[in-house]
């Protein structure tokens, strides 16, 4: 009994973390649903992405590149979504010792729910039990909420008609900015963002739509490889 009471405040704290992060994130789903329909996907395709792909950055990237480029952008759209999913490999490696404690079904479930938010809440906990609870709870809340709000957004987007008149193209840019913003705390990240933005703008007139995004990704490769603008490089 003593153990239960001792764990109680930690348990309440992790439930509170999971709820606030989960509900706030789930709300983004409205913008994803509306923008996805605006970019030419139907409601089923939009729902498939939120249910099965279930990783916001890649979902936004896929519809963003498809909307800009038409059929020629199919390859770049797939590549952009996949490259944005690379960080989930790192998350999976960090979460494996904490949540991969059952059979193959548990592992697939954990992988499915491995996203920015579930990983962040889990890593913020001080003990393993809270971390495990935070991961599953946050992942589940985001999954359910994200899919409900995606459906709502898709139906709204469907009803809007002319999406440009409603400013949904600008909303998509603002959504990407919102995903980027929390990652800009370090100087190296800021430098990479500026470099990638310049490369994307410079190559847009000469490359097939979608490709500039992938070429700009090479900025991360170069800066990351040599650790430019990193702690060691700062005076």
């Amino acid at each position: 009994m003593g153990e239960v009471t001792a764990a109680d405040p930690a348990r309440r704290a992790v439930i509170r973390d999971s709820l606030s992060v989960g509900l706030a994130t789930a709300a983004y789903g409205i913008s994803f649903g509306a923008l996805s329909v605006a970019s030419g996907l139907d409601v089923w395709q939009t729902m498939f992405l939120s249910l099965v792909m279930f990783t916001g950055g890649s979902q936004f990237a896929l519809i963003g590149v498809l909307a800009g480029g038409g059929p020629a952008s199919a390859g770049p759209a797939i590549a952009a979504a996949a490259l944005l999913g690379v960080r989930n490999v790192v998350y999976g490696m960090r979460m494996k010792p904490v949540v991969d404690d059952g059979g193959p079904m548990r592992r697939v479930g954990a992988a499915w729910l491995t996203i920015d938010e579930s990983t962040a809440v889990a890593l913020a906990q001080s003990d393993e039990r809270s971390a495990r609870l935070g991961f599953w709870l946050t992942g589940t809340i985001v999954f359910v909420g994200w899919n409900l709000t995606t459906l709502l957004g898709a139906l709204i987007g469907d009803a809007l008609g002319d999406t440009r008149a409603w400013g949904l193209d600008a909303a998509a840019a603002a959504a990407f900015l919102g995903l980027l913003w929390p990652r800009l705390k370090r100087r190296q990240a800021g430098a990479v963002a500026v470099g990638a933005a310049i490369v994307a703008a410079a190559t847009t007139p000469v490359l097939v739509p979608g490709l500039p995004v992938l070429v700009a990704a090479s900025v991360a490769l170069v800066v990351g490889w040599f650790d430019w603008f990193g702690r060691r490089g700062s005076a």
Binding site: A24, I30, Q45, L49, M53, S58, G64, V65, G68, P71, A74, A77, A81, A82, L84, V86, R87, N88, V90, G92, M93, R107, V108, A110, A111, R164, A165, W166, G167, L168, D169, A170, A171, A173, A174, F176, L177, G178, L180, R183, A189, V192, A193, A196, V199, A201, T204, P205, V206, V208, P209, P212, V213, A216, A217, S218, A220, L221, G224, D227
Partner: protein
């Protein structure tokens, strides 16, 4: 390639990556350099997508109602306004400019 093909291939790729972290031997991406590149890759892609989404029109670079909308969005993020509110305001700014010009 139909839209469904694109969706299915991209989804298979992202799911494989998610599962990858649980099945490949730990270590590789835990090392400093690969982990740093994986982090920065996300930043570079998002920054490039912002530019293309704000200035791109096919292969042309265009300055239109999207630019002030994104500037307003940046200001609101700096003020810690929630994501959903910012996205709606950005849409409203662009829609307003288009309605009155």
């Amino acid at each position: 390639m139909t839209t469904w093909h694109v969706i299915l291939i991209a989804t298979a790729a992202t799911l494989a990556l998610k599962l990858g972290g649980y099945v490949v031997p730990a270590g590789f991406l835990e090392r400093e350099r690969p982990a740093r590149i994986a982090d920065l890759l996300t930043v570079a892609l998002l920054a490039a997508l912002i530019v293309v989404q704000t200035l791109g029109a096919g292969q042309a670079i265009v300055l239109d109602a999207r630019v002030p909308a994104v500037i307003v969005a940046a200001a609101l993020y700096a003020l810690r306004v929630p994501f959903v509110v910012v996205v709606v305001v950005a849409a409203a700014v662009a829609a307003g400019i288009r309605a009155f010009t």
